[in-house]
């Protein structure tokens, strides 16, 4: 467990940098803003205590907020997603449960499981984020379109990222 710590710190920094300096500057046709930094919450170990999950989500959200001038926006969405994570994991668990030496990643549980897992969480995160950003329901469908398009884009990025992990991750 403790051996993974430096890895996670590195990926935290990497993801925040990627988000803040590259992806925040990207805009496709006014609708698509991918938010890859949620990947960090997705791949935390299964055994992470629930309270720690929320605290990590708060720190991650506030860090992204600090750079995008939106105090509270990303942190509330990320904490919401982290709150749902244990329940989502329980609902979509494979027949014989999760093995103790594995992480919630594509190569451990297959692409079908991983896509389902990441799609649910990323969609809830984006839904929360975009509606709290607009802060009103008057443009419901325009916002909803943004949510769907951005979610698809983020999911694709998350899937691509899964092929960048080193092979020797098993402890």
């Amino acid at each position: 467990m403790i051996k993974l710590l430096p890895r996670y710190i590195m990926s935290f920094i990497l993801l925040v940098f990627l988000q803040v300096f590259i992806l925040n500057n990207i805009q496709f046709s006014g609708y698509i803003n991918p938010y890859i930094y949620v990947l960090f919450i997705l791949v935390l170990p299964f055994e992470t205590p629930k309270w720690l999950l929320l605290v990590i989500a708060l720190i991650l959200g506030l860090t992204v907020d600090l750079f995008s001038n939106t105090p509270g926006m990303h942190s509330s969405a990320t904490v919401f997603m982290a709150f749902l994570r244990p329940y989502v994991l329980k609902i979509i668990s494979p027949r014989d449960g999760y093995e103790s030496e594995t992480l919630p990643q594509l190569k451990h549980y297959g692409s079908a499981w991983f896509i389902r897992y990441s799609a649910i969480l990323i969609f809830t995160h984006h839904l929360f984020l975009f509606y709290i950003e607009v802060f009103r329901f008057s443009e419901f469908f325009a916002t909803f379109l943004r949510v769907i398009l951005s979610s698809v884009f983020t999911i694709i990025l998350v899937l691509i990222s899964q092929y960048f992990y080193r092979k020797d991750i098993r402890r």
Binding site: N69, T70, A142
Partner: protein, 276 residues
């Protein structure tokens, strides 16, 4: 007592979630306000440093284009000087006493962070209170509106971009002086909406929209954009779609305008309101 503790222990996850969520949302709402920029000021110092580095790299890559634009701007300014010298009216020009009567002060600054894809867009400048910037100053680029300074730290300033749902700018139609308030409605970085123009105003597609100078932030007559389209709304007013003349996607050098008489004007207006 014990059962209460047990209960709290059992739902600690939910409780913690609700607490953190309340915390973030208060943070969000408190900072949404135009004037409460304290949090931003503290963190700007850190974020600004990093942004300066990435921005200097980006600026290096676009030097050629930037040069071209500066040459164009120079040319335009030179032309203006030339024409004033040759004009016959030179003797009748009003003399501006630059020491006692200067009203607006321009400070050049560079943009080190900018966004156009959110609903509340902000811009970060590389100058701050040490260079004389203050909140509520106007920001222009090549003579057209960019935004309003929101908060300053020692060496950086945050600007509320015109592309922000919170910002309204008092503006008017150049040819007949009808005024209204201009705001962005969150759709695309090239258009904004001008409201409160009465139906009896004579407007046409292509008319120029400029600032009205009523708000004490912007001087009068700064270009905002051109009328792209208009519709009637609510029976007595037009809703005018304005194509913005600023290209927010490639902003780099801007000027910050300080109104030296701002406090005097605001105090006078306050007095008048107090007398009612």
């Amino acid at each position: 007592m014990r059962s209460l503790l047990n209960f709290l222990l059992r739902i600690h996850f939910l409780l913690l979630f609700i607490l953190i969520e309340i915390f973030s949302i208060t943070l969000l709402i408190n900072n949404n306000n135009f004037h409460k920029a304290r949090f931003v000021n503290y963190t700007k110092q850190i974020a600004g440093n990093l942004y300066t580095r990435t921005a200097s790299l980006k600026q290096y890559l676009s030097l050629a284009e930037e040069n071209q634009r500066l040459t164009k701007e120079n040319n335009r300014l030179l032309n203006i000087i030339e024409s004033t010298y040759k004009s016959d009216e030179i003797f009748f020009r009003t003399v501006k006493d630059t020491i006692f009567n200067q009203r607006y002060q321009y400070t050049p600054a560079r943009i080190i962070n900018n966004s156009v894809n959110k609903k509340h867009n902000f811009i970060t400048l590389n100058k701050g209170s040490q260079q004389g910037l203050k909140p509520e100053m106007a920001v222009v680029s090549e003579g057209s509106v960019v935004g309003v300074v929101k908060g300053v730290s020692k060496n950086y300033a945050t600007v509320i971009s015109l592309l922000n749902l919170d910002l309204r700018i008092s503006s008017k139609i150049k040819k007949n002086g009808y005024f209204g308030s201009l705001m962005w409605e969150g759709k695309g970085y090239q258009t904004a909406i001008l409201n409160e123009i009465p139906l009896n105003a004579d407007i046409q597609i292509g008319d120029t929209i400029i600032t009205s100078g009523f708000s004490s932030i912007y001087p009068e007559g700064i270009l905002i954009g051109f009328i792209e389209d208009f519709t009637e709304k609510g029976g007595s007013f037009y809703e005018i779609k304005v194509k913005l003349s600023t290209d927010f996607k490639r902003l780099d050098n801007v000027n910050v305008i300080g109104n030296l008489l701002q406090t005097e004007k605001i105090e006078l207006e306050k007095q008048a309101e107090g007398n009612d």
